[in-house]
Amino acid sequence: MSVFEYAPAPESRSIVDIQPSYGLFIDGEFVDGTGEAFKSVNPATEEVLTEVSAGSEADVDRAVTAARRAFTRVWGPMRPADRGKYLFRIARLLQERAREFAVLESLDNGKPIRESRDVDVPLAAAHFFYYAGWADKLDHAGLGTSPRPLGVAGQVIPWNFPLLMLAWKVAPALAAGNTVVLKPAETTPLSALLFAEVCQQADLPPGVVNIVTGAGETGRAVVEHRDVDKVAFTGSTEVGKSIARAVAGTHKSLTLELGGKAANIVFDDAPIDQAVEGIVQGIFFNQGHVCCAGSRLLVQESIHDEVIASLQRRIGTLRVGDPLDKNTDIGAINSAEQLARIKELSDYGETEGATRWQPACDLPDRGYWFPPTIFTDVSPAHRIAREEVFGPVLSVLTFRTPDEAVAKANNSTYGLSAGIWSEKGSRILKVANQLRAGVVWANTFNKFDPTSPFGGYKQSGYGREGGRHGLTAYLKGADRP
C-alpha cells in the first residue's frame, strides 16, 4: 500500500452512443443481417453492450456485389488524387472523433484507455494519412510501370487491435484502388461499425467499404466468395492455414499475418533499466494480446538474476483494472474463451516444471482478468516456450553466447518479430541479420509506424503490411520493392 494512492480517473463513457442493435454496413447503408444476431460484451464487466447482426452467406454475397459494383463503376475509374482526398478525409475524421473511438475500443475490447487513446487510434489515423499520400503516386512508387488494383478485397481482422487492424487493411486497399468487404472479429465489432459511420460522414461512395459482422462462418463466406480477388487475414495460425487451403487453386491473392512467439534477447551489455521497460512493453502491452508480443525473454545467463529481480519489481508497479481509468496499465482479457486458453497454458507451464511468478494484485470480481505473469526455469521444450499464449504471460529462457541466443530465438515455428537489447551497435546489426523474423526491434519493442513494413516468416504468415511494401499486396503487376 503506497502513501500515494492515485484517485480513480475514469474517462467518461458519455462520448460514445452505443445503439441497442447494429446491422451490417453494405453499399453505404446499415441493413439488417439475415444470420442470427449475437451480443458484444464489455470484457471488463461482462455487461452486454449491444446486439450485432451476423452476416449470412447471402449477406456476404450482397456485400461483395456492392463492392464489385463500386469497384467497376466508381472507385476503380476515379482519379487517384480524388481517392486520396477521401482517405485524407477519413484520416481527419478519425482524429476528430479520436476520443469516441478510444472509449469505444476500450469498452468493447478491454484494453486500457491509455493505449487506445495514445496508440491504437492515433496510429489508425496515421495509416490513413500515410496511404492517402500514396494514392496518386502509385505509378512512381517503384512498384512497376503501371500497377493496377486487384478488385474486391475480402478482409478478416482480429480482436486485439480492432480499429488499428481495420486501418492496416482498409487504408492500403483503398489507396491502391480496391474496394473492400471487411469482417471484424466477433468479440470486437463496434469500432468497425463506428468506422462505417465515418465512411458515411466522409461521403465515401457506397460499396467502397462494406462491413459484415459475424463469427467464423461469416469470415469463411467472405474468404470463399468466388468474386473476391484478394484475401487478407490477420489472426490465428490455425485459421490462417484453413484460409490458405480454401484459397489455394483459385485466382485470389492472399496475405496472412498470423501468430508469433517472439524472442526478446537481452545481452549482458544492455541498458538494463530500459531493457526491463522493453520487456514489460513487449509482453504486457495490450494484455499480451499482440501477435508480435515479446513472449520469450532470452536473457544472458550472467545477468539473469539481476534482470528478473528488476522485472519483478517493475511488474509490481503495473496497475491492473478498469480499462477506462486513465492510470490503468493492464486491462481485461478480451473474452472468456481467451482467458480459458491463457489459464490452460499457464497451468501446463507449471506441470512441465517451470516456475510461475505473479505480483500481488487485486483483480475485479466480474469480467475476464489475468494478472501479469512470468515463468522462469523454462526450457525450449516446454509448451509455454513454443506455443503462442496470446496473454500477459512471459517465458524466461537463458543463453550463454550470441550464437546460442540466435539459435534459440530462431527455434520456433513462428517468425514474426524479435527484439535485441545491447549497447553494442555491431552486435545488434549482426544478430538482427541472423534472426528469422519479419520485424527486429533494437533497444525498443512493440513500436509501430505506418511507413514500416510488418509481416512474418514461417508460420507467422506471408506478405507485408505497412510502408511501400504494403501496397504491393493490393496491386496487380507490382514488383516487390
Binding site: 502513501v3 484517485a7 530500459q274 486513465k326 525498443t444
Partner: protein, 331 residues
C-alpha cells in the same frame, strides 16, 4: 594518476579512511579501478528513458490524490534565492514565507528548507528559529565550482559556522569531463568531512554533463563519496532538472540502497515551476523508487517560483475556482 600530481590530493593513508561502503570499498583504490567500475555500470538508452518518463507523464492525478500531492510537494520545497542582489531583508522575507506559505490558511504545510548563499545562512537561521525548517547553503564556489579545494572547504566551513545544516555543493565538472573521476570523488569526501553534522547535497550540474550515462556515473561517484543527497542542478545552467535526468538519478539511489543498504536522497532543482511538473516528479518517485522516498527527508524540490503555483492550485482545489497572482505572496 593525475591526482598524484595534484597538491590538493589526499595522501594514500587518508584515502583508506574514506573507502566507500561495501561491496564497493575497493573501487576507488586507483584511478583506473574507479574508471572501470563507473564505465561498467549499465548504460542508459536515452530514447528509452525519454519514453518511460513520457508514459509516466500521462498519469492522471485528480481530487484526493492531487490534494495529497500538492501538500506533499509544498513540504518538500527548498525555497531558494541565489542572486547577487540577495540581502538580509530578502532572506527574512523568504523565511517568513517558508514558515507560512499561505497566510490565509494555517493548515498549509511549511516548506522543507530555505536555500541561500553561505554568507546569508545566519540570517536565515535566525529568521527560521525553531520552526523545524532547515537552512541550506550553497557552497564550494557555487555555481561554477572553479576554485581551489582549500577555498571550497573554507566556503563550506563558513556556511556551516553561519548556521547552515544542509550544504549544497557542486562537483568539479571539469575534472569529471576530463576523466579524473577520483579527483571528483576525493573532493566530495573532503567536503563531506568539512560539513560535520550538516547534511551534504551533491549537485551534479547535469546540464553540463549532458549524457545520461554521465549522469549515472556522477550519481554513483557522489553516493560512494558519502553524499546524503544527489541533486541535479544549480539552477544557473539550462537544461536543469529534466524528467529523464531525474529518472536516471532515482534509479541510481534505488540501486545504491539495494546494494549497500544506505538510502540517499534526491533533489531535482531548476526548471520545475508548475504544479504539473511537481506532480510528474512525485509520480516518477512513486513508480521508480517507491514510497520510501516520498518524504522531505529523502526528496526535495529546489525551486523558487514553484511554491506559488502549488499554492494557487491548492486554493483552487479548496475553493473550486482559480484566484490569481495577487492571492499568493511575492517573496
Amino acid at each position: 594518476m593525475t591526482h598524484v600530481l595534484d597538491p590538493d590530493a589526499l595522501p594514500d593513508d587518508a584515502r583508506a579512511l574514506m573507502a566507500p561502503l561495501p561491496p564497493y570499498d575497493d573501487v576507488t583504490r586507483s584511478d583506473s579501478a574507479f574508471r572501470t567500475f563507473l564505465h561498467g555500470l549499465p548504460g542508459v538508452d536515452q530514447v528509452g528513458a525519454e519514453a518511460r518518463v513520457a508514459q509516466l507523464g500521462t498519469r492522471s492525478i485528480k481530487t484526493t490524490a492531487k490534494a495529497w500531492a500538492i501538500d506533499t510537494a509544498i513540504s518538500m520545497v527548498d525555497l531558494t534565492t541565489l542572486e547577487g542582489a540577495d540581502t538580509p531583508g530578502k532572506v527574512r522575507s523568504l523565511a517568513a514565507k517558508a514558515r507560512r506559505p499561505d497566510p490565509g490558511d494555517p493548515a498549509c504545510p511549511h516548506v522543507a528548507a530555505v536555500c541561500v548563499y553561505g554568507d546569508l545562512a545566519g540570517v536565515a537561521r535566525e529568521a527560521l528559529g525553531d520552526s523545524g525548517i532547515h537552512v541550506a547553503a550553497v557552497a564550494t564556489a557555487f555555481p561554477s565550482g572553479r576554485a581551489s579545494r582549500a577555498v571550497k572547504i573554507a566556503d563550506v566551513q563558513d556556511a556551516v559556522a553561519n548556521g547552515a545544516d544542509e550544504i549544497d555543493m557542486v562537483i568539479d565538472r571539469g575534472a569529471f569531463l576530463s576523466g579524473r573521476y577520483l579527483d571528483v570523488f576525493e573532493e566530495i569526501v573532503a567536503v563531506k568531512e568539512a560539513c560535520g553534522p550538516a547534511h551534504l547535497k551533491v549537485i551534479l550540474e547535469t546540464g553540463e554533463l549532458v549524457t545520461l550515462d554521465n549522469v549515472r556515473r556522477a550519481s554513483w561517484i557522489a553516493m560512494l563519496a558519502g553524499g546524503d543527497f544527489i541533486k541535479t542542478s544549480t539552477g544557473k545552467v539550462s537544461p536543469a532538472a529534466t524528467l529523464p535526468v531525474s529518472l536516471v538519478m532515482l534509479e541510481a539511489v534505488r540501486d545504491f540502497r539495494a546494494a549497500t543498504g544506505r538510502q540517499i536522497g534526491f533533489k531535482p532543482a531548476g526548471g520545475i515551476r508548475t504544479t504539473k511538473d511537481a506532480v510528474k516528479h512525485l509520480v516518477l518517485i512513486n513508480e521508480t523508487v517507491g514510497a520510501d522516498w516520498l518524504d522531505p527527508d529523502w526528496f526535495r524540490f529546489g525551486a523558487s517560483s514553484l511554491l506559488n503555483d502549488l499554492l494557487l492550485q491548492r486554493q483552487k482545489l479548496r475553493t473550486g475556482h482559480y484566484s490569481g497572482p495577487d492571492y499568493v505572496t511575492v517573496d
